[in-house]
Amino acid sequence: MTALLETRDLAKSFGAVTAAADINVKINAGEIVGVIGSNGAGKTTFINMVTGYMKPTSGDILFDGKNIIGRKPREVMRKGMCRSFQVAQLFPELTVLENILIAQAMAESKTLSFFSALHTNKREQNARALLDDYEILEYVDEVVSTLPQGVRKLLDIAMAMISQPKVLLLDEPTSGVAIEDKFDLMTTVMAAVKKSGAAVLFVEHDMDVIARYSTRLLAFYDGRILADGPTKEVLRDENVQTLVIGHHLDMDELEGTANA
C-alpha cells in the first residue's frame, strides 16, 4: 500500500542554519499522528514544507503517489491536503459566517464567479452545519476579531476542513487555549474530523493531549525525527524523554488520562 503522504530525505536550511534534515515520514489514510518537539525542532517547518509554503532545500514530497515539490499551497490544497495555523489565519474584520462562506466558495472552484451571489441559502445551511460540528454555531454572526482564542482556533480548523481534505495538518491546535479547555477543543475537532475520515497530523506540547488523541507519534529534535512509532512506545523512549520532553513521564498517569 502506498502512503497518502510520504517525504523522502526532506531538508531545509537557511544559510548555515539547518531547520530540518533527513525527514522521512509516511502517513497512511485515516491515521491520527501526534507531533512533539521543542521550539525550533522543525515541526512548523515540516508543515510549511509539505503544504508548499516553504520550498525544501532538498528531498521529495509525495502525495497520493505524486511528487508535489514546488507546488504552491493552493495547488497542494486542491490535491487534498490542508492545514491549520499556530496563530489562526482568518478574515478578522468579517463575521464568522462570511469567513465560512468565502472558504466554501473558494473550495468549490478556483475560478471564482463574478456575478452569482456569494451568500446563498445552500451555502449558509452548509456553513451552519459545519459550525455546529465544531460547536461554534452560536458565534455565527460575530465579527472574528472579537472572538476568544479557542473559537478562532476552531474556526481556523473548520475552514481548513471545508474542502474535505484527505490529510489535515494541525499546527498547535490548542496553543493559546486555556488548559481546562484543551481537551474539549480536541474532542470537538477529532469528532468533526472523524466524520470525513481524513488523516490527521497534529503538533502539540501537552503530553496528556498527545497520549489521549494520537495513536502514532513523531518526535522532532534538532530538525530531525528522533522517534516514530506507536504513541506509547515513543513516549517511553529514553531519548525522547530526556531530549524532547525534558523530564521523566509518569506513564501510569498518562495512561490514566488516555483511557479516561
Binding site: T44, N48, Y53, F85, Q86, V87, Q89
Partner: protein
C-alpha cells in the same frame, strides 16, 4: 568626446541635486516608515525662503559671498520650524497607522502646505540668481559649465559624507540604525523612539528645505515645484530601496546619468527614461537595489 563630457557633468550635477532631495525622504522612511509625500513641499518652502531672503539680502547691499551661508541658515530655520510643527503638532498622533494610511496623511499635509506657500509667497515667480552668477562659468574643452553646479556637487558630497559618517561612526547614528533595523526591539532596549522620530523628521525636513534653498539660485521659483520634485525623489528612493541612504545615493546616480544621457541623445525621452529605469529596476528587484530585507511572517 564633448558629448561624453557633457553627459557626465550634467549627469553628476543632476544626480547630486537628486540625492540632496531624496536623502531626507529615504531617511524619514527608513526610521519612521513614513513615505512622506510632503517632502516636496519642504523643498518648495526651502526654495521660496531662500529665494525671497536672497532677494532682500542683495537689495540691502550686503557682502555677496555670505549669501551662501544665508542659504544654509534659511534651510535650517525652515526645516526646524516646518519639521517640528508637522511632527509634534500633528504627525505624532498618527503613529502606528498603516503605511498606506500614512501616505494619505502626508498627501493631506502636502495639499495644505502647497496652498500655504501660495498664501505666504503669492503666485509670482521669485528669482535669486546672484549666488549662481557670482561664481561665474568654467570652460572645459568647448563646453561652458556653471561653477555653481560644481559647487552643488561638492556640497552634496559633503552632505553625503556627513550622513554616512553620522550613521556609521557615531553613537547616535548606530542607535538610529538599530531603529531602522527593528523599531520594536530598539524600543524594548530602551531607545527613546519618540525623540528619535522627532529628530529624524526635523533632519529630513531640513535636508528637503536645504535642497530647495540650494536649487533656488539656479531656477525660477514658482508654485508647484514641490509637486514636480517629489515624484523624482520617489523614483530615486524606490530604485535605491526605500529607507536606505546609500541606496538613494546609487539611485540618484542611476537616474541622473540616464536622464543626462537621454537629454543629450534623445531629448523627448527625458521624463520617460526616469520612470522607465525605475520600472526596469523594480521588475527585477521588487524591493529596490539596497532594500532592508524584512522577514515574511506566518
Amino acid at each position: 568626446m564633448n558629448l561624453a563630457l557633457a553627459v557626465l557633468v550634467d549627469g553628476v550635477v543632476y544626480s547630486s541635486w537628486l540625492f540632496l532631495i531624496a536623502a531626507g525622504l529615504t531617511l524619514i522612511y527608513g526610521v519612521m516608515k513614513i513615505l512622506n509625500m510632503a517632502h516636496g513641499s519642504f523643498y518648495a518652502i526651502g526654495a521660496y525662503s531662500g529665494a525671497s531672503l536672497i532677494g532682500v539680502y542683495f537689495a540691502g547691499g550686503n557682502p555677496p559671498w555670505a549669501s551662501y551661508l544665508l542659504l544654509i541658515g534659511v534651510a535650517m530655520v525652515a526645516g526646524l520650524i516646518v519639521g517640528l510643527l508637522i511632527e509634534r503638532g500633528f504627525l505624532r498622533f498618527m503613529y502606528g497607522r498603516d503605511e498606506v494610511v500614512m501616505i494619505l496623511v502626508t498627501y493631506g499635509i502636502l495639499l495644505i502646505l502647497e496652498d500655504t506657500i501660495k498664501l505666504l509667497w503669492g503666485v509670482d515667480p521669485y528669482f535669486a540668481y546672484q549666488p549662481y552668477t557670482l561664481l561665474g562659468r568654467t570652460k572645459i574643452s568647448s563646453l561652458s559649465f556653471a561653477n555653481y553646479d560644481f559647487m552643488l556637487i561638492a556640497v552634496t558630497a559633503v552632505v553625503a559624507f556627513i550622513l554616512w559618517w553620522s550613521l556609521n561612526r557615531t553613537k547616535a547614528g548606530k542607535i538610529l540604525q538599530s531603529v531602522i533595523h527593528d523599531r520594536e526591539i530598539a524600543g524594548a532596549l530602551g531607545v527613546n523612539v519618540t525623540k528619535i522620530f522627532t529628530i529624524t523628521f526635523v533632519i529630513g525636513a531640513f535636508l528637503g528645505a536645504f535642497a530647495g534653498a540650494m536649487t533656488a539660485p539656479g531656477i525660477s521659483v514658482v508654485p508647484g515645484i514641490g509637486i514636480e520634485v517629489i515624484i523624482l525623489a520617489f523614483a530615486v528612493v524606490v530604485i535605491g530601496g526605500l529607507g536606505s541612504v546609500g541606496g538613494a545615493f546609487v539611485g540618484a546616480l542611476i537616474v541622473g546619468l540616464s536622464r543626462a544621457l537621454s537629454v543629450h541623445l534623445y531629448p523627448d525621452g527625458e521624463l520617460f527614461v526616469i520612470y522607465g529605469v525605475m520600472g526596469l529596476v523594480l521588475a527585477f528587484r521588487p524591493q529596490g537595489l539596497f532594500a532592508i530585507a524584512s522577514a515574511r511572517k506566518i
